[in-house]
Assembly symmetry: C2
Homo-oligomer: 192 residues x 2
């Protein structure tokens, strides 16, 4: 998505350790018109997947997910992160390891909001090692819910999340696919 | 806002301890068309306030805030919650006490995203004791930013947050104002 690639080039910051900081427009300060355009693009990309719910995880996934849900005219659910719970009877729960924070968190959704008639689109801001998306996929499996696709705003295609989603046979779309962050430069896959 | 009051009556759950659970459409599963309608309503209510940024706090404020920012054509910033930090040089930070979780958390925003030319609209899902809104107001004060208004989706007008915002001389709008949750019944202020 050219609009997004241009914005990453303009306002993204590349930091040591292959970190791409996009807090000026995506995950701290957020550009609502860009989010709307991205939601419409996800809507177009997944329009034939018969999606009944959009699923994301708090917090950075919420803005793109709500705009995607608006485009597809379906509800959005955001999984909540928390320390491991003892009472989980009414929740579908998965464990997610955060490489940036180096902690395990549980994520969960309430069982009332999905059932085996649902076909879910997973949306997130980043796909890198794929831990958050893997957790959401595990929740879908536990809920016996079909996954109609995974849509991420930015993927780092050189990390393992990309292949993990493809290996699961899932329709994957990234609005911007980063091939390299070497030498403090963003190189997109479609520039190679 | 009649659309919202009807939805609260239909899908809200009143639990012991004056808890109104609206996780079916607002803060876990989220109805995107309702969020859009609410964002447009906040846009209308604050259209003369010369708002330059919408400010909220993760996570439940993000969906209504991004739709409000879209209506007002300004950026949205969501403050992040975390345990108390040692390094806060580049952050505006405030402490927020959560009555439901009984813990203190810091919330913060990056100093790069506001300056003294800004006039901010604070948006949140709930106004009850007003701790989150108070924290956001403190951040605005520290940043020397004017507050053009506070917009909340649901307020419990019988708790102290409502008066706290008014006492600060701030333009307050609630899309649904709950007067009482006695006897497991929602009574709105405009029904009294």
């Amino acid at each position: 998505m050219k609009l997004l690639e241009d914005r990453i080039r303009q306002d993204g910051l590349v930091l040591p350790g292959d970190v791409l900081k996009v807090d000026a427009f995506l995950n701290h300060q957020v550009d609502p018109e860009l989010m709307q355009a991205m939601g419409e693009e996800f809507g177009r990309l997944f329009k034939d997947e018969h999606i009944t719910k959009v699923l994301t995880v708090e917090s950075s996934g919420i803005a793109p997910a709500i705009m995607t849900a608006l485009a597809l005219k379906v509800p959005m659910i955001f999984a909540r992160k928390h320390k491991s719970l003892t009472l989980t009877d009414n929740l579908y729960t998965a464990q997610v390891y955060s490489y940036t924070k180096r902690v395990n968190n549980d994520i969960s959704i309430d069982k009332r909001f999905v059932d085996d008639n649902d076909r879910v689109l997973i949306i997130d801001d980043f796909l890198a090692n794929g831990q958050a998306v893997k957790g959401l996929m595990e929740i879908c499996q536990a809920a016996n819910v079909e996954i109609g696709g995974v849509g991420v705003v930015i993927e780092k295609s050189f990390q393992k999340g990309h292949q993990m989603v493809l290996d699961a046979g899932i329709h994957l779309e990234a609005l911007a696919s980063v091939a390299s962050l070497a030498d403090n430069q963003v190189t997109f896959v479609d520039e190679l």
